[in-house]
Amino acid sequence: MFEDLRDLYQEVIFDHNRNPRNFRVMENANRRVDGFNPLCGDKLTLFLKIDDHVISDASFQGSGCAISTASVSLMTEIVKGKTEAEADTLFKQFHEMTTGKTEDINLEAIGKLAVLAGVREYPARVKCATLAWHTLDAALKNQQEAVSTEE
């Protein structure tokens, strides 16, 4: 019935929405940033533990739509073990993929995150996917204030 939406709602997204990974408060986090999408009420708190420029742990709490939940869940998986510089590169690649400025995205480099490429066709939903990553960007820059999609 929802054939048109297969690119947007891939099974991986349903899976992460049903069973979000790294969904927990991290007591020993040394970065903690809130992200908020005032248009739809998505809220998340991202926790990172960064040791010697390496993200040794990542987790989150919050509530949102399937796209935003899957996006942040996938993100916490993929950035674990990455250096800050590598995570920043992923942020830029993800942003490029979802906002679709160019056609030639290196889907291989971005790995699993490619399941979210479909949001490009749904302008109303792009921010659902990018909220997690903008929150990560703020955490990498060690910003304290909450991130909003509408500023």
Partner: protein, 407 residues
């Protein structure tokens, strides 16, 4: 119901023939904005093709024609809400601007620090923020009358808030997020017993029921044209003449003056005093056409038809496991706000859109209502006179299917 000319009405709205994502459009976002009948579209085309010029100033033929049509629309609005005089009908951009006008003109000139303004827990941001701005400017105090879990105003609690400091009640006639219809007659009666004027936010109520401002005896009534099947950029502030006479202008400029020198300006009389600058001429004439259209169908017929639609939709919705209706007031207009367990409203909105169904997902400019129910957002299907039971069946089938997909 049997006599309601639904087929004819649907045929009068060209957009209802559109396909969305290759499916017939099922438009259920009417609380945000209604679609326009051909008569309104034709009116705008006619004005710009044959009768357009600026109003009120020209001696030339077109200006006179446009002015006649524009003032004719004012008379249509007057008759539609049964105001005593066209002097009481102020054209603005929408209900939001009308409330801002009252806050900044009436509020700023008549209220002082410590005075209280009473609103309700179910207000749209448009009936919250202008009062908060006034409170910041002059030190008035905003009081909020609570509601129960069904989304009904707690009338006794409301009444208790009215005291010697209360200088204005500003309350919605019908809630956009919940559909609740407030007992406005009772509200006005108890407020007037204490000499407190009442502003009704009629943005949602106006397309769904007959409104008689003299029978209600409200002091201000505001609504938007675009929710009444008219063009966007049109709105109406009704105010009792004596109140409007005593209020200072809201904006200065052309059209609202009698004479201007560099020393002094004499303001025009009502209603021009509040209509600075060139208004949305063709659109307001189009609003007149919209009023003609709904008047032919009949507001009571529309109300009865939509009540049946809502009853049917509610009955169907209650059979869906995991669906929670947000807002179950006994007195309710055609709005079905709901949440689904474990499925975010934005996902509901995108999924239904892929089936051609337009609903709204979000906070509906009523964040305090969302906070009250402890939800970030709801999905909202809102009905208009052109919707059908078949469309509600399509909606319900869509909801059932997406619940399955999300598993």
């Amino acid at each position: 119901m049997t006599t309601f000319p639904i087929e004819q009405i649907r045929a009068d709205f060209p957009i209802l023939g559109e396909k969305i994502r290759n499916k017939p459009l099922v438009y259920l976002d009417n609380a945000a904005s209604c679609q326009k009948p051909q008569a309104v579209i034709d009116s705008i085309v006619h004005t710009y093709s044959h009768e357009y010029a600026n109003i009120h100033r020209g001696v030339h033929t077109l200006s006179v024609k446009a002015t006649d049509k524009f003032e004719g629309a004012r008379e249509k609005v007057r008759a539609f809400i049964n105001a005593a005089s066209t002097k009481e009908i102020i054209f603005v951009r929408g209900a939001t601007e009308a409330i801002n006008l009252v806050a900044q003109s009436y509020g700023k000139s008549k209220l002082k620090a410590g005075d209280e303004i009473v609103i309700s827990a179910m207000e749209h941001h448009a009936n919250i923020v202008p009062w908060q701005m006034l409170c910041q400017q002059i030190g008035t105090v905003l009081k909020v009358a609570p509601m129960n879990q069904k989304g009904e105003l707690l009338f006794d609690e409301f009444e208790k808030l009215l005291n010697g400091n209360t200088k204005l009640v500003a309350i919605t006639h019908m809630s956009n997020a919940l559909g609740s219809i407030n007992p406005v007659e009772k509200i006005i009666a108890v407020a007037h017993a204490k000499n407190i004027p009442v502003l009704l936010d009629g943005a949602q109520a106006i397309p769904h029921m007959a409104v008689d401002v003299q029978a209600l005896d409200c002091d201000f009534y505001v609504f938007s044209g675009h929710k009444l099947y008219g063009p966007s950029g049109t709105g109406v502030l009704y105010g009792k003449q004596a109140l409007l006479e005593a209020m200072p202008p809201y904006q200065g400029g052309g059209d609202m003056i009698r004479s201007v020198t560099f020393d002094k300006t004499d303001y025009a009389g009502l209603p021009q005093k509040f209509e600075a600058g060139t208004p949305a001429i063709a659109e307001i004439i189009g609003l007149g056409a919209a009023i003609d259209y709904v008047s032919v169908v009949g507001m009571d017929n529309i109300a009865a038809y939509e009540a049946e639609l809502l009853a049917y939709a509610t009955e169907q919705a209650l059979q869906i496991k995991g669906l929670n209706i947000i807002g179950q007031a006994a007195e309710k207009g055609g709005i079905l706000s709901f949440t689904l367990e474990h499925i975010h409203p934005h996902d509901i909105g995108t999924m239904l859109d892929s089936l051609g169904i337009a609903i709204r997902a979000g906070h509906h400019c009523a964040m305090p209502v969302m906070d009250f129910y402890g939800v970030p957002a709801t999905a909202r299907a809102s009905f208009a006179m052109y919707n059908t039971r078949q469309e509600i069946d399509v909606l319900m089938q869509g909801i059932k299917s997406l619940i399955e997909v999300f598993g």
